[in-house]
Symmetry: C2
Subunit: 197 residues, 2 copies
């Protein structure tokens, strides 16, 4: 909580913190029940018994409510523009570096692993992860790179997801201890091939 | 159980079925407590209060006890020789076809997903999956192909693991509904590149 409450606007009283907490609790319940696509800022506000404008005031968008509710330390989608801009010859490498950099941060890894775990244990968890990954991440990659074949983006995502499963969940050596540079050299050409060709 | 008990030798009395069940129960406990590497046929026999020769009689090897205890319908390692033999130019394609074929079988998928789920939820589950994948699968691939860089084998494994996570757990479209042929075309060149170059 301290991580996310630190982001609230300056000078909000603890009353605001209560309302912010109520919004996040309502958001978690709404996302879990209705999935990412089925949840709206309006519905979260209703469930938290506050005005929708207050949700926008604290969080901006539904995606940012989701990121805060999941207690991610940052929004992966914020970082995508940096990856998608720039020399296309380096897109694969920038993508792999960004991805590994995020996962190397325990503040990011713990809630993300929780999200993936929930996809293994409940249909709702799977729906939430699917919609978030599909909409907030892969949809942005497709738009940013002008890609029309979602299968190739998903193949790149599969390479990266499998990498963190082996590195952080299965903890298989040598991939678990490999440096980020080694892993970039290993898989960036693959990601580049799928995304840029 | 009916699946695995159907494999017992002909003419075994139900007494044998009891002992077979006791061995499997002991094996599950031993694997969970000691991991794949730390478990021995002798230790399983001791825990089941039977002679080690009886474990060998029913299952042959520790790996087959593990496969039976996990209720896998077949041993993935049985299929690897077919993949590893033959024209090296087709190794990637044969590997992806075998892998997707196994995962398309719900009798294989359900226990394997359970094994992967246990890796997300317990350190022991992670150890068991790590040792089984490392020893029984990737070690065989390395030996069969004469590969000396385990990172490249693990990169290929990551591609395939990510594929089934997106297809069967996250159920992201279009990868969830894509035909096996489409997926082979998509990722076989990647697997080929890692394994054969």
């Amino acid at each position: 909580m301290s991580r996310t409450t630190a982001r609230r606007g300056p000078g909000r009283p603890s009353d605001g913190e209560d309302r912010r907490g109520a919004i996040l609790a309502a958001a978690r319940a709404e996302f879990a029940e209705k999935g990412y696509v089925g949840t709206s800022v309006r519905g979260i506000a209703r469930a938290a018994d506050v005005d929708a404008a207050l949700v926008h005031h604290y969080f901006g968008t539904k995606e940012r409510v989701f990121v805060a509710a999941m207690e991610l330390p940052f929004d992966p989608a914020d970082r995508l523009p940096l990856v998608l801009a720039g020399d296309p010859a380096g897109t694969g490498e920038r993508m792999v570096r960004m991805f590994l950099g995020m996962w190397s941060d325990p503040q990011f890894r713990a809630p993300m692993l929780g999200l993936v775990r929930s996809a293994f244990t409940s249909e709702q968890g799977a729906t939430m992860l699917r919609e978030f990954v599909g909409t907030a991440l892969l949809g942005r990659v497709a738009a940013g790179l002008g890609l029309t074949d979602p299968l190739r983006i998903e193949a790149a995502a599969a390479q990266l997801i499998g990498l963190v499963v082996l590195r952080y969940v299965v903890q298989l050596e040598p991939i678990a201890s490999a440096s980020e540079d080694e892993l970039v050299r290993l898989v960036a050409p693959t990601v580049q091939g799928y995304l840029v060709g």
